[in-house]
Symmetry: D3
Subunit: 252 residues, 6 copies
């Protein structure tokens, strides 16, 4: 397939889906975002609390962690609840750990001080790319939670707990060519699927590529990385725009 043939939904190979970042979607959470990558819809709630887990007490360092989950009917056919099954599946574990590591990569724990932030990323509707949407939205919720914590006096006025921004996007080889930000239909067809997490200044935090079908060679790998760099740069711009809008203005 040539690079100029449009994708099944009309997008160019290097084009993101429609991205919407709605801040303050919840009333209670210190930061919250409803993030949408096309039909994928993830609710990110950032909970800021004073204090840290026991094993970190007295260290002077903060803590950031994340939990990812899907509502049972976020998907095309209903899945059983992990709470009902009584255990969390491997995929959920994996993604929760990924989201946590990604957010921690841009937090200076010393500047955060002994405060904790939990990022709950709940997929309300899934159409591919839920983990990358979660990371991208969680960053914005994290920024708001830190400012809420600061306003409540838990952080010094001059503290700078963020060393940068972070976003994530999926890339994959579909029909033999690299494409950006796969939706569910493309994801099913992809020979290779890669999730890339990057900082706002263009460095890599995570690269996770998997050959679903045939193994891929170095050339295709380089092509995927190029696409991901462009996608993350665009997401960084959209995160910044959402954060520049007056707080609580963008409403559900």
């Amino acid at each position: 397939m040539s690079d100029s043939t449009p994708r099944h939904d009309g997008r160019a190979v290097d084009q993101l889906r429609d991205i919407r970042i709605t801040r303050n979607w919840l009333d209670h959470a210190e930061g919250s975002v409803l993030v949408e990558f096309g039909r994928t819809r993830v609710l990110c709630a950032a909970s800021f609390t004073e204090g840290v887990p026991r094993w970190r007490k007295g260290s002077g360092l903060g803590w950031v962690t994340a939990e990812y989950a899907m509502l049972p009917r976020s998907t095309n056919t209903r899945s059983d609840r992990e709470s009902v099954k009584g255990k969390i599946g491997g995929r959920t574990h994996e993604i929760s750990r990924l989201v946590g590591r990604s957010l921690r990569s841009i937090v200076d724990m010393k500047q955060l001080g002994e405060n904790s932030i939990v990022l709950d990323c709940d997929v309300l509707q899934a159409d591919g790319g839920t983990r990358t949407a979660a990371i991208t939205g969680a960053y914005v919720a994290l920024v708001d939670a830190i400012e809420t914590g600061r306003a409540a006096g838990h952080l010094k006025r001059t503290a700078t707990p963020l060393t940068g921004s972070v976003s994530a996007v999926s890339v994959g080889i579909v029909g033999g060519r690299p494409v950006l930000d796969l939706d569910y239909v493309e994801d099913v067809d992809a020979e290779t699927d890669m999730n890339v997490v990057m900082t706002g200044d263009g460095r890599f935090v995570e690269v996770q590529g998997t050959a679903e079908g045939d193994p891929f060679d170095r050339g295709l790998l380089d092509g995927l990385l190029d696409l991901a760099m462009g996608g993350c740069a665009e997401l960084t711009r959209l995160q910044q725009a959402a954060l520049d809008a007056p707080a609580r203005e963008v409403q559900r």
Copy 2:
């Protein structure tokens, strides 16, 4: 306190909060509703599938069940996920069972035939009355799921699986007087808290009253039942109005 003193949010004692019923909030589910009782926000997804659980096979009867859960940061302070704890708490169990029984009370399982409907009620934001909002919203999602199932040919054109409608509301004794549809602030203060589930034609499906403080006498109990009857009648009208709107018109 006299009956005419306004409540902390300005409502009359027999006044519901603002109720919003948004149909088709999800793209995949056969029926879905985002129901709001004031700031309480519950996402109800109805999944229609052919076939019934093994123990019911060959009976010619359908099956309707429900699962209720709260997102960890739906509440004022974050709660641990039940999936992470590895077990479902007693309260979750209780409410899931209540929602299921309530919905089954207006379904004719013979007319439904060997089809199953699961109602997932996930609380996105909690401000009191989440179980009554869940029942009220789930009914609307159920109606849509049945029509989706009929359109897909899983139900006869002439089947009438619904014997009526169902809604629910909380009532309680706050400051010594019965009030309708308590929010979280009132719920905390209530001496008695009662959840009432009723059919559209004014009969009772469930009455669950608990004295949180002093036990209550028969007179107060009668007063609470009166209030609940009025509240459910109003909710029935709002459910009908939502269902009368053209499908997919009311959008997020």
Copy 3:
């Protein structure tokens, strides 16, 4: 069916089964009762211990909680053990919570001081009404446990931790008419099943009514409440009689 037609076991509609309350059935427990409602047989053990759970320490308040369970062969056909299944079912959770709330409703936690009482209600044989028998028996065991704790010096001589007594009974609509204290055969047939918990002075602690078949109207609801008030008054008299007997006199 007319109100004067006798029930399947010969009782009048407003007649309790034979009630037996045997105190001190166990040697170790601070209070213990084998309570029988006809063939329903529940062993209630009240464990009094100094101290309270961590979250209540330093409050000066006591704590009362309950756990309900059924032996696997208490029922007509054997049920799997919840310990073997590795989790407690929704029904068990619900009833444990109900018993605990009911008993707490007549305890003055300040007068109890920082002491804990756990009420274990284990159903040895089930024939309908196990939860109401559990509450009725647990109250008597609780009284004995408090006196044992007082004798051991954990309570002041003058402390009055009990604000009243509590008992419970089931009522239901069977064959179209309200009846009191359903056994298993009636329970299966009941269109509506209601459990009512009341204090000795005739006020309500819990009202839990469920339409198993057709929803019920206000008139039937009022009839059920009337029956329950009479039943609980009788149970209160029987509890008092058991407590008036010399301790350890009534023996297995």
Copy 4:
């Protein structure tokens, strides 16, 4: 200590506690026994059902299994429920397996045919020797369950599923000398504790001896075995006497 010094409760070294075997303590179970070894009280329910577990289907063989558990306040201080903890402890597992093996040792599975018997042994009160009381009582319940199954036509009239009887007793070294049927006080003091399961004709099914304190030599071991043989012979007589009484005559 000389062999003629009486034990703390006045018994001779080779004397059992008072043994009571009450048949038909339950109304639903196919066989049931309340067995008492002094203050130790175990309820044994035998459930007879047609059919066998899946892995045994078509073999023509029956199946016998057992579950042992303690009520939370059977003991001196309350223990947490295994159902609440979500898992069964090692001791419970061990004893359940022991009871099952012991009963199976005297069942001819071919004669039982494809029927199953589950023996539930629930300790209502514990004062040492609960597992040996459980085995001794379960045998009697098993006999009754087999006759109930035969009466219901699930067994041939001429089938002889029992190859003998089985009973069990504990022995131990207390104060340097072997004693029979230890109660809790002796059990705590014992240097060595041994449980012995024997058939009615004096052969061994299980021998489980543990040095709690100092290891024991062959001479003491031989002395313990002698005592156990005498105790089991006496228990065999008591089981037979209970079974010889007219069914349902001995009542609670």
Copy 5:
């Protein structure tokens, strides 16, 4: 079968399999042994840590415990992992408890001081007698762990935490005659299976005999005990020989 007929693998009735005890099989553990009884291969790791569990703090006493497990493909056909099933089976529980008790029988907890030793016995390959191999190997690992703890200064130079040595062997009745150290083929055929744990000076720590087929009489029991005494004496010599070899000399 006469006592002089050789066994299926050519051994005499009172002959052990080839026993190999390889010390220091692991680099990290304070003591470690790969013990082999013929094809049965168990890795015993002894972890020495300062401090004791919370319930033992301040007692001045040490703690020794053990965990036994089988790798999924240690057996002839693969078994499911207990970690995947989410619970430990009864057999694993039983053996872990047996190994712990056996090792504790020769430890003077006062001399050990407030230090803990955990013995992990993981069966890499199973061919009968895994629990007895585990005990026999764990003793050697325990000795090494104590010396490592002493060298690290956690024990006084003069402390003597060991009161003796411990080993274990299985005996059983196969083909009507007692034999020593059964392998898997014999274990399957055995009418009676007995595990015996003894101290180096010839006293009994545990005797666990089970009739798998016919119950056994006192004469056979005595014969089994004789055989076990001889087997444990030989194992004691082999343990000592392994410990006499220069540390780290015997290598994988």
Copy 6:
């Protein structure tokens, strides 16, 4: 640090640790390998069974899956067993899934036919790179298991279920420069850690890179990929050498 400065253990930046691949380490498994990357020691057992999981029956396709686990004392300090904790941790889940996907990438499920292979990778000793050692060793065990299955007649003589070979290695940025095959000491220090799985013909199956410290730029990423390609090529040669040796010749 310059590229020619030796590493803490004297290795060059592009040098593997000593690799040992011992085939047939177990007697029962259809294929088994003890693989060592320096002091990291992983036992890989491949279990070949006829038939496939239920969801795959009748498809004509085979199935390959993997389970990874660490022995509690494989590490420097003892970890709790996942079977005792009652749940599998996220890291274990992640690695099991990775090993399974990696092996499946070179299996032609059609050629395998309706047979299943489970790869159990148990870490006996951990010193960095356990997951890459597991994949590298599991491939060799898989080859042997397939040949065992073929010899047993479960595969056609002419079936070619393997489309190639697979190996894995870790690379990372330590002291600012990319190095190959990190041991534990380096792993702890690494700013970035990447695991790369490749086929024998030099294509990528998985690329999983994580910035533990600072995010990394594209240049460093390219350098890591270069190193990994060299390492996997060498591992491929060592796998082939092990497989070329006569079966059962290389012994423990």
